[in-house]
């Protein structure tokens, strides 16, 4: 029973982190129907930003996520301006492959500049702190990231549903030509969406530095899971991404513990396939 609770909490916490990683991807995907293949590398860059700020300026990841978010906002917007805008509409696969190229460049650039060494911030405020809930032990840095995920997702959701900007984004997502005719500058919306998508993953990366080592390959598995989360939740749906991420986190931790750790990702992908075959557009897809 003790283990059950621990496994449950582990799954929930990991799931919330996945939700945060996937949120930005989901927005980009939903609004522009573009898969950002460099998403995992955006995460890695976010982690490096936070790591270096922590390393040189001694700022805790609790605060440096702001810088990571800002940096990735700019990077996301720049990616849109320089790469996505120029490849959009020319062929369905062009943006995907262009971002695949970008992921190679980013990964190897970071390796070139920062060496492939594993880097872990030590002495952060939350480091090693744990709290015990009914016999299950939870790590505070992970808990903080998860709590942050909920807040950020709520903000995103509120922004999309309740603000003029959100309406404009939704209108653009549904029919960009009509939105353009209604006086929405879709070009700016796209730029902003890519920026926000980048910022989300940047913030995630920033927070994750408090418990995860940074190295050039760190984003790979996260991006795979993020793709699955987004497709499972339904492109562009924030609640969908949240629910999907929690499902995936739970499937991962329960199969990891009760079946075998080595098949946990296979199980995650299999569950995703099973669901998607019943609901071809994801849980909340439209």
């Amino acid at each position: 029973m003790n283990h059950f609770l621990q496994v449950l909490f582990d799954g929930l916490l990991n799931g919330l982190v996945y939700a945060l990683v996937a949120a930005g991807l989901s927005m980009i995907w939903g609004v522009m129907d573009v898969i950002n293949f460099a998403h995992g590398e955006f995460l890695m860059v976010g982690m490096y930003v936070s790591y270096w700020i922590g390393f040189f300026l001694d700022v805790d990841p609790l605060f440096s996520w702001i810088a990571s978010g800002a940096f990735l906002f700019i990077m996301g917007a720049a990616t849109y301006r320089l790469i996505i805008r120029n490849s959009l509409g020319k062929s369905a696969m062009a943006p995907l492959l262009a971002t695949f190229g970008l992921s190679m460049v980013l990964k190897n650039f970071c390796m070139n500049r920062f060496t492939p060494n594993f880097r872990l911030l030590s002495g952060t405020v939350l480091e090693g702190k744990t709290i015990s809930v009914g016999g299950a032990i939870l790590s505070v840095p992970q808990l903080a990231t998860a709590a942050f995920a909920l807040v950020l997702l709520a903000c995103l959701y509120w922004m999309l549903k309740r603000t003029r900007l959100g309406w404009a984004i939704q209108a653009t997502a549904m029919d960009s030509e009509a939105a353009e005719l209604m006086g929405i500058r879709t070009e700016n919306i796209y730029l902003l969406v890519f920026g926000i998508g980048g910022a989300c993953v940047g913030i995630t990366g920033g927070l994750m530095t408090s418990y995860l080592a940074v190295y050039p390959e760190v984003g790979s598995l996260f991006s795979l899971i993020a793709f699955v989360v987004v497709a499972l939740g339904g492109f562009g749906s924030i609640p969908g991404a949240l629910l999907a991420a929690i499902i995936i986190g739970l499937v991962e931790s329960f199969t990891g513990f009760y079946v075998a750790a080595v098949v946990k990702y296979a199980a995650v992908f299999a569950v995703y396939l099973a669901v998607i075959l019943i609901r071809p557009k994801g849980l909340f897809g439209w």
Partner: protein, 332 residues
Amino acid sequence: MNTKKISDGIWYLLLAGALVLPFIPGGIENTFHGHVLTMVFLYASMAQAWNIISGYCGQTSFGHAVFFGIGAYGAAMAVVQFNSLPWYGAPVGALVAALVSIPISAPCFRLKGHYFAIATFAIVEIFNRLFMIWDWVGGAIGLDYPILEDGWRNFSWSSDKTGYYLGALFLFALVFGVVRWIDSHRMGYYLRAVREGQETAESLGVNSSLVKLSAMALSAGLAGLCGAFFAQYNYRVDPPMVMSLDMSMKFVLITILGGLGTFWGPLLGAAVLIPLQEYTRAYLAHLGSGVDLIIFGLIIIYTMIRQPTGIMGLIRGLAPRGRDASNDGGDR
């Protein structure tokens, strides 16, 4: 029609040249460019196999590494586990790949656009992780070839690559021949009809599921044959080597760079991308830390921005209007 014959004539002349090359001293033997040329024809065949389902039929699959991998395991299992010949393993592997492709792609065909793409790469991940723990096929440790006598019997050479080169050329001729045949027969029209609009195609009496499934099985079987060649060439198979997203991306990249849904596109894509990959690695990797991969990535980005229709699109853009219109009716 005449210009088409002329342009095809040029292609066939080039291929005849490729066939003669190994008989010229220093042509293939054990040179690095011999290796690169072999890889060009192998990857061109792989890309063309992928092109059947994704280019002609419009279903962008990221799952072909699975079929490629099954073919590779077919050959390797025959040699390593059963002490037999790859000549038995390769067709079995290709057949299994084709058979496996049907049940896994049938449900996926209901998915549209990126949902299909993501589903297929989830399949790659599942197969990869299952093969990693399946001890009968070597699990994570993989299958290593023993040292075998050189020659066609074992399809294995060490000091002279001419055999591999001719093998790749044969594979290339086979895959391209099959596609040319499909292209000019009823099946080709069905495929393109499904690509351009499934509902319309069905209203005209095309059984779109059957068309898609048979195209997928054919594509998977041919990819499996390419995988068998890959295993023979590298004396080793393990899951990350053949059943990975990286490998799937190669199918996609080469075809799209060359020209999606065009007959010569896969060859052009392989002819540009593979030498680029091999020579940047050979001459830049020693600078350390990924300079070759950075350049490779930049070139992919640049191509996708400037020339998303691939090299075939570039060639057609250069040709005067009207001439290319007759080239291949349904090509993009």
